[in-house]
Amino acid sequence: MSDDSLTSAAAPGPDDAAPGRAPAGTGVLLAERPMPGGSGSGTWSLGWTGVRTVAVLELRQRIRSTRWTAVLALWTGVLALLTILVRWAVHRIYDESFDGAGLAPGADEAAARLADQVAGRLTFGIIVFLVLSLAGLVSPALSATSINGDRQAGVLATLQTTLLSPAQIVVGKLLAAWATGLALLAAAVPFIGWIYLDGGTPFGRLVVVLAVLALTILVVCAIGLGWSAITARTSSSAVLTYLTVAFLGPGLPLLFALSVPLVTENRSVAVRQQLYTAEGAPTGCQVVQEERTITYTNRSWWLLAASPYVVVADASPKPLSAEGSDDPMSVIRDAVREARLGPRFPLEECYGDLARSQQFDDERRAQRASLGVTWPYGLAADLALGGLFVVVAVRRLRTPTRRLPTGTRVA
């Protein structure tokens, strides 16, 4: 390529129209360029440079859209307001109930410290569930219009006709959406950290909570990406993503509640009953066979496992100091494990025997503690669901394509 032809290319005059003129070159030829040959579409190839190209492209566009800073500011503002309000409300309740209770001065101090810890745990649990709920509300917006939005804007085919594989496009978009979600989570860390510093919460719980939150956001982003590849209209994919997230979060526990009639049976079971004297005074206990309505939650508890609320609660280590379930996470954790154990026979109805009652409770607590953890299954189920949506998205991006989703353009 001579310099002359470059110049004429840079400034062609009307004379260039004449056929037979020196051609206007397209300039610098590439000495080396990747020249894949042979067959194979490479749908699933996941080379990092390709993934990075897509992720950088997505993040650049996100950062440059002016809404981004507004969203982050609004998000931080809402979190700050909620944290302050919840913290104030909880401490007010606890300070009042422990104030002037007429205890000895030393005991008063210890009680106040305990109250602070209980209040701290309660606030922590409330804030974590609020952040989880808000993340569920915000995360779908990060990816739910990613692919069909690109299709509508006519920029998807631009990527599809390059050497990027469908898997690289999908994973790149997923990573960009997740990174944005993690930025939102990072904005929440100061507030969660503040409540943690109030005391009462084990450090392990803080770590677990942040990890589960991050993974939950990843799953929600994957779901959004999947729906955006399946539906042609961005509004449909947004609605479907919200419905799926609602199904996982509050939906599964609701389903568990609705499934109670399905696992409830009338059965003749062993019941440990109170015996009474002729005068009506309790004397002892005896086991009898009686017809009872029994709810076998041990058959349906798994419905609860995949809900992110349950995963985060079950995964958090229990505070060592606390005996009972005095914070939202421990309550959920114990309730799910109780459901998992199901009914225990003989049914304990000999209430007069206090020692026996206490023993029963202790046994039950030991049983709950000995149960294997629930959260790995729940988290695995969530991640598998996210993975399924990613696979679906990749398959929908394969080209050349035989069928088009109705109402879509290729370009």
Binding site: M35, P400, V410
Partner: protein, 310 residues
């Protein structure tokens, strides 16, 4: 596997058919685009041009037929085809918040081009399509024609052997059209295969070497532009004195329809006949102002073949 009888370069399509539900977009198209030539794909709206280009660009699987791009099958070897094909779609968006330069560099990354080489080529392409002064502006400030030019540069980033241009001239101002013509001729002169779809026929006369005319999803004719110029067609003659001109034509027994305001149309067999007529008229002292084809080479063929427009 690649059929050894198919040339290793250029585009070959045989009996391509593609339907969308019950709509037959492409019925039966045969097309050859040899390397080093500009082939025009001409046809009315809805004749299947864009669908055919989507098949060639490895985005759609044809229902039937064989396609070879630079020796590779876009259905079974899409990556090989993509590495060698530059596609400029008819309707497209750009990543609005990216600058022109970033758009092209992103495409370079997507083709896994070495960074430094890609950057040099991108800068040159921006010069070529006259977007160098807008290189660091976001593409959302570009006009439609400027976006079109960016789209052309985008199709060329990876130095493709085969270039598919779908209506590249739409939205371009006259100067940009002339420049586009220069660029397209340059691509062919470099040995690339260029396929241009358009319905601006006059422009294709000067840009294209060959034309494949399609209608209702079928190939109806293949015209060599140079040969078509030798075909019988209508010429327009204009003289200062219409009466003298008509008398001279009648004396030469050249048939002609009734004249219009200042000229008359005559049917001539070839360029040679036209030259002879001009020489004769001048010899006879007719004050000839103009003797030119009444319509473009392709226009003539196109209008004859696509009367049954739908």
């Amino acid at each position: 596997m690649t059929d050894p009888t198919v040339p290793r370069a250029g585009i070959t399509a045989r009996g391509v058919r593609r339907t969308f539900g019950d709509v037959v977009a492409v019925d039966h198209i045969d097309l050859d685009a040899p390397p080093g030539k500009v082939t025009a794909l001409v046809g009315p709206n809805g004749s299947g041009k864009t669908t055919l280009l989507l098949v060639l660009a490895s985005l759609l699987v044809p229902d039937a037929g064989q396609v070879s791009i630079a020796g590779f099958d876009p259905v079974t070897e899409p990556r090989a085809v993509r590495a060698r094909t530059g596609w400029m779609p008819d309707v497209f968006g750009t990543w609005e918040s990216l600058t022109c330069r970033e758009v092209l560099l992103t495409v370079g990354d997507a083709f896994a081009l070495p960074r430094a080489a890609a950057a040099a080529r991108v800068d040159h392409l921006l010069e070529l399509v006259h977007l160098a002064d807008l290189r660091d502006r976001p593409t959302q400030v570009l006009s439609r024609g400027q976006k079109q030019r960016l789209g052309l540069a985008r199709a060329l980033v990876h130095d493709p052997d085969v270039v598919l241009l779908d209506e590249p001239a739409s939205g371009l101002d006259p100067r940009s059209r002339i420049e586009l013509r220069g660029i397209v001729r340059g691509l062919a002169a470099e040995g690339r295969t260029v396929l241009v779809s358009s319905h601006v026929l006059a422009e294709l006369d000067e840009m294209a070497d060959r034309a494949v005319i399609v209608a209702r999803g079928r190939t109806v004719a293949v015209e060599e532009v140079a040969a078509a110029a030798q075909a019988r067609r209508t010429w327009r003659v204009r003289a200062l004195d219409l009466g003298v001109l008509l008398a001279a034509l009648d004396a030469r027994r050249t048939p002609h329809p009734p004249p219009d305001r200042d000229g008359v149309e005559v049917e001539l067999g070839s360029d040679v006949e036209a030259a002879e007529l001009l020489a004769a008229l001048v010899r006879d002292g007719v004050p000839v102002v103009e003797l030119a084809p009444a319509s473009g080479v392709l226009e003539q063929a196109y209008l004859a073949l696509t009367e049954d427009r739908r």
